[in-house]
């Protein structure tokens, strides 16, 4: 049958490049090829060839039909982590030259496990992105209200820039205190630097933080602007090359890149640093899109991969955004889809604490090297996957579609020596104990995260995906009382699906400090509204200009206005979509307050509202979206509850709660919509294994999503 490819999603990892190609029916193929870091486009084309070979077609035939392409990759992150970026010079306030390497006094332990956070001996600062010798100070001072306390000493700028140029920097970053309140000084330094660079006959870029991230917190803002110069701008070249190579193969779309705020942006985007991390976000974006199509507003997303368990909440159709997250052990000012991560995945190491004889999981993991059962991985510590193999939950001959051969006897021996014997347990009981412990940890974690945000699992539908998710879905959702538990049949490729489903969307933030007391006079409310409106206008122009680069007109853009607000003096603000499109009068202010108090009531409690404190607007946000092609989700006619005979693969022995049990094995791809599978069953597909243990059953719906139902 002739295929009609529509969307290409690319995930270029450190070792493998995955491509995901979707046709106009919602069907898709996944291709894999070795990554080629020196020229990523080679690995990408190979991977696409591999994918399309399943449809018996070629890159040359299908690429011209594609309507959209989305890239996500780890190249920029690697450049950053391995400190292989550009030689960047930094200009800051005189006397503040060391704040960058001091990392807000927390970068020494970012990314560490909780126990290491408490274990001060393990703390260490990574080398700063810009070393001290490439940092220069110039005198000026602006206070937090935006008043100039000391004017800019322009005569100090020239020697600073000259010295940096003499040291052969490849980019200059300028970041002054409180520049988001008073951008003129930074821009003046920027202009002097540009002028001098021009005179010197060099061609190097200059980045003023206020042109990129006009937000509070100088460590975050400076780090992010440095990353823009250090890693993001060089990565732009790579992306351009990929875009070019794809168009040589006949593609006519502009490649977009997955960004941390949950949308995709152009490779020409001003702020490219936000494409630094995108992998785990894909799944959340996919869940949001699926929720929109199916009419589910509240979703608890859970994703188990090789190394971690990631949870994110979608509430009333909106992702929550963390405006100052940390990545790669750096504090940053990027809007990142808020996610909670615990270092427990299928590849997590399992150890017995020699002092207390208790089982510990992770936080480190074997990742793609699976476990002891996979000799080529070279792992000699037991992993969660080894326990799966011992229990019979994974089919050792059909792991990743049989591409990776696992050796159960190796897993058995390792679990015996490392876990069972020290604890005085049988090998099976030890392995079962590990899985039980993992699932109860995940369950507690999931529950505490939802309760901690002021919600209850019964208000949410839980989506479970990722290669390792469906193995444990029943275990970690049991008894939590979710409204529904759903496992998409394409769980393993869900991140790539999410990338393909992401909006073409820019989001820009600006810090504000607008304080309005309770019962303030009308002119104060009006002035506040005007200031907010001016910020929105500024951001709208920035967002609009980005779309212009991809030949969209301002009128094509759907602008969505947001603001951040808190009660004066409280510590946490809330991000709220503005109920108004323009600010005309006092009633618009009241509408903002009303929207804020409604969200505040939902997140905290009605009784906690404190209007007597007055209100602070702490930020303005503009999101702009344009229409792009998105994947269709599969839809097929319902057949009966009885699964077809050809889907039945036979029986396998699984060790469960103290005894070996005969379990029915089903082939996921051959099950039909409407089929009901009863316990005890395992549903296998090449990339994932879905377990339906006693006390559960599952039904496949017309969109090829399994509903996991607790029957006891």
């Amino acid at each position: 049958m002739e295929k009609n490819s529509q969307i290409l999603a690319i995930d270029a990892g450190g070792t493998m490049t995955d491509t995901f190609i979707i046709d106009d029916q919602g069907e898709f193929v996944v291709g894999k090829a070795q990554s080629t870091p020196y020229d990523e486009s080679i690995g990408l084309i190979n991977s696409a060839k591999d994918a399309l070979s399943y449809w018996d077609t070629s890159v040359e035939t299908e690429f011209p039909k594609l309507l959209a392409g989305v890239y996500s990759g780890t190249a920029m992150l690697n450049r950053l982590v391995q400190r292989r970026g550009r030689r960047v010079g930094l200009i800051v306030n005189k006397g503040m030259e060391d704040f960058h390497r001091m990392g807000r006094a927390i970068q020494a332990y970012l990314g560490y496990s909780y126990s290491d956070r408490l274990h001060i001996n393990t703390h260490r600062y990574d080398p700063p992105l810009v070393p001290g010798e490439l940092t220069r100070g110039v005198t000026e001072r602006v206070d937090l209200f935006g008043n100039v306390v000391i004017p800019l000493y322009e005569h100090e700028v020239e020697p600073a820039v000259r010295e940096l140029l003499e040291m052969d920097v490849q980019a200059i970053v300028i970041s002054l205190l409180h520049s988001y309140r008073y951008p003129a000084h930074e821009r003046k330094v920027r202009d002097i630097a540009r002028e001098m660079i021009k005179k010197s006959g060099k061609d190097i870029p200059v980045f003023a933080s206020v042109d990129y991230y006009p937000v509070r917190k100088e460590s975050h803002r400076t780090n992010t602007t440095i990353i823009e110069a250090y890693a993001a701008d060089p990565s732009r070249e790579t992306l351009k090359k990929i875009n070019q190579r794809i168009s040589e193969k006949g593609a006519s779309f502009d490649l977009r890149v997955m960004a941390s705020h949950g949308g995709t942006i152009s490779i020409e985007a001003n702020e490219l640093a936000r494409t630094l991390v995108s992998g785990p976000i894909g799944g959340v974006v996919g869940a949001k899109y699926l929720g929109e199509l199916l009419g589910i507003p509240n979703i608890a997303c859970s994703d188990i991969g090789g190394t971690s368990f990631d949870i994110a909440l979608i509430t009333q159709g909106d992702l929550s955004i963390n405006p100052s997250p940390d990545m790669a052990r750096l504090v940053l000012s990027l809007p990142l889809v808020a996610m909670d991560t615990v270092g427990a995945g299928a590849g997590s190491y399992v150890r017995v604490d020699p002092n207390y004889k208790s089982i510990t999981l992770g936080p480190d993991s074997a990742g793609y090297r699976v476990g002891v059962c996979y000799p080529e991985g070279g792992v000699d510590t037991v992993t969660v996957s080894d326990c799966h193999v011992v229990l019979g939950l994974i089919n050792p001959d059909n792991f990743l579609g049989g591409e990776v051969k696992l050796y159960p006897e190796r897993a058995y021996k390792a679990v015996k020596e490392q876990i069972a014997d020290p604890l005085g347990l049988s090998v099976e009981d030890a392995a079962y104990g590990v899985i039980d412990l993992l699932e109860s940890q995940l369950r507690n974690y999931l529950e505490s995260m939802i309760l901690g945000k002021g919600y209850s699992p019964s208000q949410y539908v839980c989506f479970s995906y990722g290669g390792g998710g469906p193995l444990h879905t029943a275990g970690y959702t049991k008894g939590l009382g979710f409204d529904k538990v759903m496992v998409p049949a394409w769980a393993a490729g869900f991140s790539a699906f999410g990338c393909a489903a992401a909006d073409f969307e820019y989001r820009y933030d600006k810090t504000l400090d607008i304080n309005v007391d309770d019962g303030a006079a009308d002119e104060i409310k009006l002035a506040a509204g005007k200031e907010l409106l001016a910020a929105w206008e500024e951001l709208k122009e920035k967002v609009g200009n980005e779309f212009v680069k991809n030949h969209f007109a301002m009128d094509d853009v759907d602008f969505r206005l947001y603001f951040r607000m808190q009660y004066q003096g409280q510590l946490n603000d809330l991000e709220i979509e503005a109920p108004i499109k323009d600010f005309q009068g006092v009633k618009d202010w009241d509408a903002l307050i009303e929207a804020f108090e409604e969200v505040y009531t939902r997140v905290y409690a009605k009784a906690a509202r404190s209007p007597e404190l007055g209100y602070s607007i702490t930020g303005a946000i503009v999101r702009g979206l344009v229409d792009v092609v998105k994947p269709k989700i599969p839809k097929e006619a319902l057949s009966g509850e009885e699964p077809p005979k050809e889907a039945y693969l036979g029986k396998r022995k699984v060790y469960w709660k103290g005894e070996w049990t005969e379990v029915d094995i089903w082939e996921m791809e051959k099950l039909k919509a409407g089929n009901r599978i009863r316990a005890f069953s395992i549903i296998e597909s090449p990339a994932t294994t879905y377990v339906v243990p006693p006390g559960f059953e599952t039904v496949l719906d017309e969109h090829r999503i399994f509903h996991l139902i607790e029957v006891d």
Binding site: S113, S115, D116, H119, N121, T122, R124, R351, V352, D353, P354, N355, T381, V382, E417, Q418
Partner: protein, 168 residues
């Protein structure tokens, strides 16, 4: 199961030349069972005398077992201080920096402590003149023992190892 650490890594740990990422791995993991024995055997190999080391007691210092069963503090040069329950500092050479002049040999002018409030006591080995310890204390502060280990309990209950034979 803890990561198996080879002897070379422990040598680097003792010398302070260990790579930070390796050190972090050591710090964040459980200790392997024979870590202490490996550690001790490296120390033993590096000293020029044969008395078995029971515990390290500081830079250059060890608690060793003599043939007659006595447990004494000994410097790596071979100088023997005293019984391990006694305070070796009282048997060492001491240099006290208690004037501005002496302080200024170490610190830039005006950046040293006021000797009326704080003095610096330096302890040296009478055998080899190695600096063994430095303490910054109030002038009246007593010369305290650093620690008084319960060696028998440590070996028997914690390590589960036999003590080197003595005639005690």
């Amino acid at each position: 199961m803890a990561v198996r650490i080879d002897r070379k890594t422990i040598e680097e740990l003792i010398d302070g030349t260990i790579d930070f990422y390796k050190l972090k791995e050591l710090l964040s993991n459980f200790k392997d069972k024979d870590r202490f024995q490996t550690y001790l055997s490296i120390l033993q190999e590096r000293v020029p005398w044969d008395d078995p080391i029971l515990l390290p007691a500081g830079l250059h210092l060890y608690i060793v077992q003599k043939e007659n069963g006595d447990r004494i503090v000994k410097c790596d040069c071979g100088h023997e201080f005293c019984d391990y329950r006694d305070n070796w500092k009282l048997h060492a050479l001491v240099y006290v920096r208690d004037t501005e002049e002496k302080m200024n040999e170490l610190y830039p002018k005006l950046l040293a402590p006021d000797p009326e409030w704080q003095v610096i006591r330096e302890y040296y080995c009478p055998g080899c003149a190695s600096q063994l310890e430095v303490e910054a204390v109030a002038p009246w502060y007593p010369v305290l023992k650093d620690f008084e280990p319960d060696i028998d309990t440590f070996y028997e209950d914690w390590l589960g190892l036999p003590l080197p034979l003595g005639k005690k």
